[in-house]
Amino acid sequence: MIVKFLQVLTLLFLSAAASAGEVSVHKNETTGLLTWTVKDNGFTLELIQLLPDFIRAIYAKHNFPPDEIERAASYCMFGSILKNTSKTNMSYRVADWRYVPKNQKGEAGEALPVKTKTQWLEEWKKAGIIFSWTLLPDSGDFAVGDWQQGFTTIKLPRESEFDLIYKWKLDGVAHTGTIENLKCAPESLSDL
């Protein structure tokens, strides 16, 4: 009971702290895949749905073992482009970000941490993989004009819906925003 109360309280707090970022959704006319772009007080994040076969292709190209390719492809992955669009310094830490899965009725669940690049690299190291690129870096200290890209990984099944709570700092001042109703890519283009 107390745990549930705290969960509700946390969600209420997060909702209250969330900024009103400008979110746009673009549908790729060729593939049908979706891209979300949020522009929020000097922080711009694009999230592009990625098909599991794309993930398989990328990691097969880098000679990952088949089971690790499948494990990566089982995640809900987005190509992410993160830009400092402010006139000052911007920083972020993926470890501060949370995703909130939604059930079929659209009800929000518990806020969960987004898996970081460091966590992936530790797992890959155990599998003998030394390749360390492709994923969005855990953190960044961006000067004016700096930007970065890489995969953002969410542990959810295909076509799941969720909200992403993202955090960043502008000149050391913390900000929080939410992109609502993101959707994981389907298994293949024919499922769209």
Partner: protein
């Protein structure tokens, strides 16, 4: 069998389609002056001809040191501008060095053949990413501008239009020091 067939199709088709979306951001030309000027770590890496090259070989020249890979869309986009920048300066004053991450000369050779401008600057191979770790590179591309004394003076995270007049001006100022 079906998996292999699907995977092959994905390797050939899907990256192209998806990468089209990844190539949207416009390249800026901002270089960031580093707060603390520190010496650039020396390294020794092979080039396309398997000759070992050291950063210290270029002391006395301004060096644009770029970390990249062929599968990285912004790296690919900024490469022609790096070549134009390279051609714009006297080789005695300025050098572009592009350090490839975890690929081999065959992959890079095949890749450069598809570029609008064939790179004539030095491409080196950091096969284990050790040099990128020494330079605290978190993502690709990342670029450092090193002065004639071998000190890091500017950096850029993400793709840039390197032959922009503002960048040229910064390089000229470092050459004239």
């Amino acid at each position: 069998m079906k998996f292999k067939k699907n995977l092959l199709a994905a390797m050939l088709l899907i990256p192209t389609v998806v990468l089209a979306d990844w190539q949207q951001p416009e390249l800026s030309h901002d270089l960031t002056k580093v707060n603390k000027v520190i010496p650039a770590a020396d390294f020794e890496l092979p080039n396309m001809d398997e000759e070992k090259k050291k950063l210290s070989d270029y002391k006395g020249k301004v060096v644009l040191l770029n970390f990249w890979a062929t599968w990285c869309p912004p790296c690919v986009r900024e490469m022609p501008s790096m070549e134009r920048l390279h051609q714009q300066f006297d080789a005695d004053n300025f050098k572009v060095i592009a350090i490839n991450q975890m690929e081999d000369s065959d992959q890079v050779f095949a890749f450069t053949g598809q570029l609008e401008i064939d790179p004539t600057f030095e491409i080196l191979f950091d096969s284990s990413s050790e040099v990128s770790q020494d330079y605290a590179v978190r993502g690709l591309p990342t670029t450092y501008l090193i002065d004639k004394k071998g000190k890091i003076r500017y950096r850029a995270i993400g793709g840039r239009e390197f032959n922009h007049p503002e960048v040229v001006k910064v390089i000229n100022s470092l050459i004239e020091e």
